[in-house]
Symmetry: C2
Subunit: 219 residues, 2 copies
DNA sequence: AGATATAATTTGGTTAACCTAAATATTTTT
DNA sequence: AAAAATATTTAGGTTAACCAAATTATATCT
């Protein structure tokens, strides 16, 4: 089996997540930003990943994962999200604390560990942030969710995911008392700033800025 | 807080475990063997560990952990053994499968993770091989165990630890049906080769070579 | 004590990942 | 289409860990 270093895995993951957002071209610049390194360093590594047949690469179109590369990237994401699920579910971590540690754990190499962890957790489809966990064969479950800011007035909705996993946003949600699975009822939309008046869990009424409502996914 | 690399941690661990066996001097040679690297490389690293005040070091007496270095080494051992306990206890691993993976997991950095894992496992004192797990403050529990080969005839004993964690020996024990916690009754000792006839769990009788009995710890 | 064996160190490499600054491409704007 | 802006690559350099071969200490043996 081919050996992929931790650093290489991080590149693949960066390309994978960048490709999901901007779709088309994944340039050196973007990868450099994601990994907080100098663009000059990226060229070198992309060439190596190309040699290893993990990406297609040329100056014009940037980097694109091959089937091999995609498989590796998805596996890393799978590991990351399963570990996050474990940390929150069994080790009393909150959703804003788990990212860093999962960044380390995602590189542990053992297929059996991965399978057993999945089983132990009950083959979860989504992690504590609502992000989908690829299954063993690489298939990624889909949620037909919308962002809250696009919801119609008078709809009863369930919070299923957040579109921003920074600790500051997650702490803000905690402070507002919003968690995954909560039922939200949209009462009013302010015309002038797009902020929402919502009823949370049939109890409290709170205001959410359009900014925040753009990062909350509902179903 | 001082940053200690994975490689440095492995050196500290090697020095720690070597010091436990041979007591006195831990030479470059021995460290090199433990880590499967060239002795020439060891000199360099020991100098760095000395500069970081993690070891005392001079040509005559070799390497010796400082209080700082000992603390770091014990923490790594603690992590290693807690993870092994987790793998066997919750993820269906057998005791001969866990070492490699624990070698990776022992380098994950997060104090909260360590504390929570300990709590989750119920603050175990010993890992699946019977090795003591240092507690949070670094204290290492002691078992007043003996090696089976030194046991007297007619004694009822409990298997508490193995003095050889290689997969081949652990598999041998599994095949013989011997596990930690089993009660052993010594019936006979063969004079000519020191092998033992023992009764296992009050049921089966089996022969154990002196070789094997030297690696089984009982209480 | 001197010869021999063993252990440690020095010397002069290598590789993976990074860096900065300069040079070259490629887009985008005017 | 030329100028300006942006993106990529090249060139030359660094650091952490390693190596092999040669050298220098230290220990052991006769």
């Amino acid at each position: 089996m081919m050996i992929i270093s931790v650093t290489e895995e991080n590149y693949l993951k960066a390309i994978f997540s960048a490709a999901h957002l901007s779709e088309s071209r994944v340039g050196n610049q973007l990868i450099a930003e994601k990994l907080s390194i100098n663009p000059a360093s990226v060229t070198e590594m992309l060439r190596r990943l190309h040699d290893k047949k993990l990406i297609q690469y040329n100056r014009a179109d940037g980097a694109k994962l091959t089937a091999q590369g995609l498989k590796s990237a998805i596996k890393v994401v799978r590991k990351h999200r399963l570990w996050e699920t474990f940390l929150v579910g069994h080790l009393n971590f909150t959703w804003d604390e788990v990212h860093e540690i999962a960044e380390q754990l995602e590189h542990i190499q053992s297929d059996k560990l991965l399978d057993e962890l999945d089983r132990f957790l009950g083959n979860p489809g989504f992690d504590p942030h609502g992000d989908p966990i690829p299954n063993k064969s690489g298939k990624i479950p889909v949620l037909k969710s919308k962002i809250l800011v696009e919801a119609e007035i008078g709809k009863k909705l369930k919070v299923v995911k957040v579109a921003d996993n920074t600790a500051s946003f997650l702490k803000y949600l905690d402070k507002q008392g919003i968690a995954l699975g909560d039922i939200i009822f949209v009462k009013e939309v302010q015309d002038f700033d797009g902020s929402l008046l919502v009823e949370l869990k049939g109890k409290r009424e709170i205001y959410l800025s359009a900014e925040a409502a753009r990062k909350i996914m509902v179903e």
